[in-house]
Amino acid sequence: MSSVASSKTVTVTVNGVEYEREVEARKLLIHFVRDDLDLTGSHIGCDTGNCGACSMLVNGQLVKSCMLLAIQADGATIETVEGLADGGELTRLQQSFSDHHALQCGYCTPGMLMSATALLREHPSPTDEQIRKGLQGNICRCTGYWNIFEAVKAAGA
């Protein structure tokens, strides 16, 4: 019989670094990553699963980290926006966001980048429809999406 507990020691690997922490069962993954691991690149936009600002890759799969408990991520390999640039060298996608002015306030950008990263891994040269579908879970209230779309398209070309 597996045990029932209100907290547990979890081990996660985030952007290649292993962390071991005691977490309460009620803690959302986004709070764990931001508050306990001090990786504040991933944002909390809506806290209701709608906006996608907290998107990250868990075991290679794109998720909204406000709809996953930290305790559920025990043993997982996690990638966040901080893991994209390698030693300050922007990824092709990040550079493309800069080149295409794909952000204004930038609040949604960490989530957009992770969704687009997941998309480009699955479809290295995505169609327009695939880009739109791939970014569907991420809301931007500044850009009207057009420059984000262009940035992803250029990064995938």
Binding site: A25, V63, Q72, S115, K133, Q136, G137
Partner: protein
């Protein structure tokens, strides 16, 4: 959002999960969490114990039998269905799963969670009713199987009782299916939806969003569907998105669209 204090268990077997659900009055199964975690934030649900089903690998399979029956494990995600070659035996399943929310939600949300939450605006309850799915429920005394018709009992209420789990859904062979919806945004919440399936010349249409459970009507062909919906005397609920009358109108239009889509397939 800080959730209310909760305990957590991640059982490694269905038997183990059932035992924990039985032993704790306030225990609740956690599938994909794409609904439950959010209603916990809103305190609309406050389980004492979350029984995480994500360790139950035998509930994640999608299998196709020789007679064409498709069996989908309750913990298969929408993404699993989209990626499954077997699931293409009944194409409507993947087509509908592709329109649920967004990539992130499809990666976590499960088939079992969708039907067990039985939100009247969900996509899968009417779809399962239309295709004649059968649900297998495990409990202390073993397994039982119920028809979709007997599975959906009320808003957020299904035949899965306390201490029980939905383990799998079987969908009979068939291809002449359709689905139509009017949603908030491209793949958003349904204001009204309808699923249709043609079997032996009869078309069966299940209407979502118009009552506590899917409303099933049948007709000899798509041309009879409008009259069949009229005869059902729908009294749909109203909200900020649609009056009762408008939602009823949408249901009729969508029923015909879904039936025509089904009839157009061979």
């Amino acid at each position: 959002m800080l959730l209310r204090e909760v305990e957590y268990a991640k059982p490694g077997s269905v038997a183990d999960a059932l035992a924990i659900l039985r032993e704790h009055d306030g225990a609740r199964a956690l599938a994909g969490g794409q609904t439950l975690i959010n209603v916990m934030k809103a305190r609309a649900a406050s389980p004492d114990v979350l029984v995480d089903l994500n360790g139950l690998d035998d509930l994640k399979g999608i299998e196709l039998a020789a007679d064409g029956t498709l069996t989908i494990g309750a913990m298969a995600t929408y993404t699993d269905v989209l990626a499954s070659a077997e699931a293409r035996a009944r194409p409507i399943l993947g087509e509908v799963c592709a329109t649920i929310a967004d990539v992130q939600v499809r990666n976590r949300g499960t088939i079992g969670g969708n039907v067990c939450s039985n939100d009247p605006t969900n996509h899968l309850p009417p779809l399962m009713a239309a295709v004649g799915a059968r649900m297998t429920i495990a409990g202390e005394s073993g397994e039982r199987t119920v028809d979709a018709h007997d599975f959906f009992l009320g808003v957020y209420l299904t035949a899965v009782g306390p201490g029980e789990l939905l383990t799998r859904i079987s969908v009979p062979a068939g291809k002449q299916d359709g689905f139509a919806a009017v949603t908030l945004g491209a793949d958003g919440t349904c204001i009204a939806n309808a699923a249709a399936s043609i079997d032996g010349g009869r078309v069966r249409v299940a209407l979502g969003c118009v009552d506590a459970v899917p409303v099933v009507v049948t007709a000899d062909g798509p041309e009879g569907v409008g009259a069949a919906v009229d005869a059902a005397n729908l009294m749909p609920p109203f909200d900020v998105h649609a009056s009762s009358e408008y939602r009823g109108h949408l249901a009729r239009v969508l029923a015909i669209r879904a039936a025509e889509q089904a009839a157009g397939r061979s």
